[in-house]
């Protein structure tokens, strides 16, 4: 199935993907696809990485790509997934800094 994976536009922790269009095997579970994307992004296992369908919901990680495609594909024939981490909290007027250092995390090879 044809999948487009995009970074949430306000995402600050996670790096961008080098490419966004993927051809994925039908019976691959979403959880495995998520692992593939995590590896591409060099994420530590303790970092959050959420895939949302059509910018709305968290799909069941056990669903296969085919099931997701069947239920959520766009008119243009692609399945759209957005990835994001979590927001951080603090008070802006006290000069807190938001996170950028995660980008520098070395890739475990």
């Amino acid at each position: 199935v044809q999948v487009v994976v995009e970074r949430y536009q306000k995402e600050k922790n996670l790096p961008p993907l080098s490419r966004s269009k993927f051809l994925v095997s039908q019976d691959l579970p979403l959880s495995q696809f998520a692992v593939t994307l995590r590896t591409r992004l060099c994420l530590a296992s303790s970092q959050t990485f959420y895939l949302l369908v059509n910018n709305r919901g968290l799909p069941n990680m056990t669903a296969t790509m085919q099931e997701l495609y069947r239920d959520h594909k766009d008119e243009d024939g692609f399945l759209y997934l957005t990835y994001a981490s979590q927001e951080v909290f603090g008070s802006c007027f006290s000069g807190g800094r938001s996170a950028a250092s995660c980008l520098l995390m070395p890739c475990p090879s």
Binding site: Y8, Y50, R56, M61, A84, Q86, F89
Partner: protein
């Protein structure tokens, strides 16, 4: 000057304090149901019994030369402390334990409070949490998200021999029952750290029960589930399920907030969430010579804050506490429904 600007904000915030409305709807607080008309005072007692951690100033500088106040940056860390403190209360005193002003409290209570004093030698102090955050890519004074706090608590719990908690932080929205059972049955000392979530395909809430029968006994489980319930705003389809979590007897509430402000959510009334707010700056309190702590400033004795659930930021972390294995089995069956 930063501080004084900040204190202006506090007075604005305290204007939000509102009495509860007259209603027949039940209030849910951490797995307990209350009726406003019948026993409002019981509800308020239940809320004031929770340990309330806020910004503090005038503690010893973090790392020797760092900040001596966490105003403006520590709110999510304080919320994490509150959730963990609630777990320790459930462990040692029970969910139904009540706090009363000026009353002599059990020894365990003071011991719990000791764990959270703003001193570098207390195991869950702001010092320990901020410094453990460095390993998660957060420099001291940087803002945390719910997952980062959960990761920090998980690491700090390994050094806490008194409580020997098993802390499980779910990744990718998935709770692996087998992993939890293994972790809680593993003998103490053998560190349950470095718990990677690689076998994802044995996914959530399945029927895999495989209790390895160690004689060491079940370690009390703190289960934290970081989630993202939408992209910009919370997706309305999750609201009922989110509220349902506060009804579960294992509930420790949720970490989250609205943009920039972290709150510790402990319950709801209708479409409003009830929370403890860390955004008040108090002075550092140390323990007395006899090991007790003047605890007045560690309990919120006003009517608590409320906010519309639709204003919730989608980044949250749910917390649950399972003292015994049967509590966890019960949790699994509740979640499956």
């Amino acid at each position: 000057s930063v501080l004084s600007r900040y204190e202006n904000q506090i007075t604005i915030l305290s204007d939000y304090l509102e009495e509860f409305p007259e209603t027949d709807e039940p209030v849910w607080i951490l797995g307990r149901q209350h009726h406003l008309k019948a026993d409002k005072s019981k509800l308020l007692l239940d809320i004031s019994a929770r340990l309330w951690f806020t910004y503090r100033r005038k503690f010893s500088p973090i790392g020797g030369t760092g900040p001596s106040s966490d105003a403006g940056w520590g709110c999510m860390l304080r919320c994490g402390q509150m959730m963990l403190a609630q777990a320790l209360i459930c462990r040692h005193l029970g969910r139904d334990w009540q706090w009363e002003k000026h009353k002599k409290q059990p020894e365990e209570y003071h011991r719990i409070l000791q764990c959270f004093l703003d001193r570098k030698d207390c195991c869950y102090s702001i010092h320990q949490m901020a410094q453990m955050g460095v390993g998660e890519g957060k420099s001291i004074g940087e803002w945390f998200g719910p997952n980062t706090v959960a990761q920090v608590l998980k690491k700090l719990a390994l050094f806490d021999e008194w409580n020997s908690l098993a802390v499980y932080v779910s990744m990718d929205n998935t709770v692996v029952i087998e992993d939890i059972k293994k972790m809680c049955w593993s003998p103490p000392q053998s560190s349950s750290a470095a718990h990677s979530s690689t076998h994802l395909h044995r996914s959530a809430l399945g029927r895999n029960k495989n209790a390895a029968g160690f004689c060491a006994g079940w370690k009390p489980l703190l289960l934290i589930i970081p989630l993202r319930l939408g992209i910009n705003h919370i997706n309305p389809v999750y609201i009922d399920a989110f509220k349902e979590c506060f009804k579960m007897p294992q509930s420790l509430g949720a970490l989250g907030g609205k943009p920039n402000n972290a709150y510790y959510f402990i319950g709801f009334l209708g479409n409003e969430l009830i929370y403890l707010d860390p955004h008040t700056t108090q002075s550092f309190v140390d323990s007395e010579e006899n090991g007790t702590v003047d605890d007045q400033s560690f309990h919120c004795q006003q009517a608590p804050h409320r906010m519309k659930i639709m204003n919730l930021d989608p980044s949250v972390a749910l917390g649950f506490f399972c003292k015994e294995e049967c509590d966890f089995d019960n949790w699994c069956s509740l979640v499956q429904k």
